[in-house]
Each structure stands twice: as structure tokens, then as C-alpha cells.
């Protein structure tokens, strides 16, 4: 596959998803290089996750090199798993990443901005679990 890996951030909160996307973009210094989309909150602006906006975000960032989806908790995890099980709702090469939301997003965007493939982006995000803080 060619092109850059897309990143989708799914949170129960629109503000959390947008802010983490912004943080990851800035820390990566990627400018417009890596497509990052936030899918936060429900369609009517409440707390929760939306399958429709998640699928829309994944299509938006898909450049043909795969899409890494990072999620926060509960229904965010289940919604993405259910969409993946559906088969045709998300772009080909979409992966749910098992990673901490903020740290994983930064690692994913930094790695994608270096031109890495989907496997490397997913691995970098998952390795964020290993960085001890204390």
C-alpha cells in the first residue's frame, strides 16, 4: 500500500477527541501531513459515541494505506468492533488499536508522519502502554 496512514480518534466527548487530535498533530509537528479525524460525542452533541461519525471520519482520513482507530472506553470500543464486524462500514485496512488514548494518539501520529506503514503505526501506539511514568 502507498500513501500515509490515517488516524481516527473516537471519544465519548467531542472536546476530548478534538483536543487530543490537536495535541497529537502539534506534538508530531506534522502540519497537514497526517490526516487525523476526531469522532467525539453523539450525533446530537451529547456524551457517547456515534457509529456514523466514526465511519465518516475513517473514510475522511483514508489515503489507501490503512486507518488506525484509537478509542477511549466502553461504547467507543464496542462501536468500532461492531463496525469492523459489519465488514463494509469502514475502509479496507482499518484497525482498532489497543492503546492508551492520548499517548497512543501522539505515538501513532508521529510514526505515521515519518511515513511508516499501518503495522508500524499500530505497534508504536500499542507500545505506549509500556512507558511507565513512575
Amino acid at each position: 500500500m502507498t500513501g500515509v496512514v490515517g488516524i481516527v480518534l473516537v471519544s465519548h466527548s467531542a472536546q476530548v477527541a478534538a483536543a487530543v487530535a490537536d495535541l497529537a498533530r502539534r506534538l508530531a509537528g506534522s502540519g497537514d501531513g497526517v490526516p487525523v479525524a476526531a469522532a467525539g460525542g453523539t450525533a446530537d452533541g451529547g456524551l457517547g459515541t456515534s457509529a456514523d461519525s466514526t465511519a465518516r471520519a475513517a473514510r475522511e482520513v483514508d489515503r489507501g494505506a490503512g486507518v488506525a482507530v484509537l478509542v477511549d472506553i466502553g461504547s467507543a470500543v464496542l462501536t468500532v468492533k461492531a463496525l469492523l464486524a459489519e465488514g463494509d462500514e469502514l475502509p479496507e485496512g482499518t484497525r482498532l488499536v489497543d492503546a492508551p488514548f492520548v499517548e497512543g494518539a501522539v505515538a501513532a501520529v508521529v510514526t505515521a508522519s515519518a511515513g511508516a506503514d499501518l503495522d508500524a503505526v499500530v505497534t508504536a501506539a500499542e507500545e505506549a502502554y509500556g512507558y511507565r511514568k513512575v
Partner: protein, 198 residues
């Protein structure tokens, strides 16, 4: 034989039951969850009833598949993908037959329940919807009434359990003593099945 009409009656009876019981489901969820189960279920099943009225599918499988898809795209909480997966997978298991037997429905529900268990990583005894659904699907081989009774008993049996999944699991011991909201709504789903069969 259970035809598409039966499955439409089931979904409509369920939408009415969820609407009627929304406040109770939210109250149960307020104790050990985030107090939105009734609201979420009502939003989802209102959308299901509207979608089925607009475009009523003509096979049992298609009714459940459409209902499941609507739940996943409208609910906004964990109950969306969980109930959506249950119905969609059961619908797929029924295929495109015009009529199915109670035994085929029971078998399809068991396929849906297995998919829900995989999705949520839960098993019976974790204080979830599975504690109502699994005994109900087993009892469905006997009768609709037996299934309803098994679901209600299963929901009641979640009261002393320790939650191991979902937000309630963060509460640890404090989750004990409360009925699981997902098991309570699953009992409504099975109860609506008996209502549709009358």
C-alpha cells in the same frame, strides 16, 4: 411458523416496552452505571420502530438485520453495538427464509448471544445482559412463556453478582445488590417476544 409480521410485532412490542420502562432502566443504571440506559434504549428502539414502519422487510432475518443496524447507528452508548450485534447476527443466522420455527429462532438467538459475548468479552455470571439472555434462549426451546420467565429470573439473579464488565465493574463490591440494567432490558426483549406470540 413465525413470519416477518411476527418479527415486526416483536420489535414494535419491544419499542413500546422500552418506552414504558425507560425511567426504570435509567434508575437501575444510575445505581451502577452512567444513568443513560433508558434514554439510550428508547432512542434506539424508537428509531428501529420508525425504520421498520417506513420500510417493512418481508423476511424475519431482514427485520432483525435492519433493527440491529439502526441500533448500532443511533444509540450512542454500549447498548447500541451490543443489542445491534445481537439482533443483526440473529437476523443473519435466519437467512432469507419467509418463515421460521421457534427452534430456529432459538438457534439464531444463541448465535447472536455468542457474538455479543465475543464483542464484550463477557460470560454468564459477569452481571450483564448475558445473564438474562442465555437462560432465555435455552428455555425458548420449550415455550415463549418459559423464555420470558427464564429471562426475568436471570435478570433477578444479577442482583447479588459482582460486576466484571462495563462501567459497573469500576465500582467493584459496590456493584453488588443492584440489578444489572442490561439484564433488565434483555428481559424486556424476551417479554416482548411472548407478547408478539399471543
Amino acid at each position: 411458523m413465525l413470519d416477518a409480521e411476527f418479527f415486526l410485532r416483536w420489535m414494535n412490542a419491544l419499542a413500546r416496552a422500552v418506552d414504558r420502562e425507560a425511567a426504570r432502566l435509567t434508575e437501575l443504571d444510575a445505581a451502577i452505571g452512567d444513568a443513560d440506559h433508558g434514554t439510550n434504549m428508547r432512542r434506539g428502539f424508537t428509531a428501529v420502530a420508525a425504520a421498520l414502519e417506513k420500510d417493512a422487510p418481508d423476511t424475519p432475518g431482514a427485520v432483525l438485520t435492519l433493527a440491529g443496524r439502526r441500533l448500532i447507528s443511533t444509540v450512542g452508548g454500549a447498548s447500541g453495538p451490543l443489542y445491534g450485534t445481537l439482533l443483526r447476527r440473529a437476523g443473519k443466522a435466519l437467512g432469507d427464509e419467509a418463515g421460521v420455527s421457534r427452534a430456529q429462532l432459538a438457534e439464531a438467538l444463541r448465535a447472536g448471544i455468542a457474538a455479543v459475548a465475543r464483542l464484550g468479552g463477557a460470560k454468564a455470571g459477569d452481571k450483564t445482559m448475558l445473564d438474562a439472555l442465555e437462560p432465555a434462549a435455552a428455555a425458548l426451546d420449550e415455550s415463549f412463556a418459559a423464555a420470558r420467565a427464564a429471562a426475568e429470573d436471570g435478570a433477578a439473579a444479577t442482583v447479588p453478582m459482582l460486576a466484571r464488565k462495563g462501567r459497573a465493574s469500576y465500582l467493584g463490591e459496590r456493584s453488588v445488590g443492584h440489578r444489572d440494567p442490561g439484564a433488565a432490558s434483555s428481559a424486556l426483549l424476551v417479554g416482548a417476544l411472548e407478547e408478539a406470540a399471543r
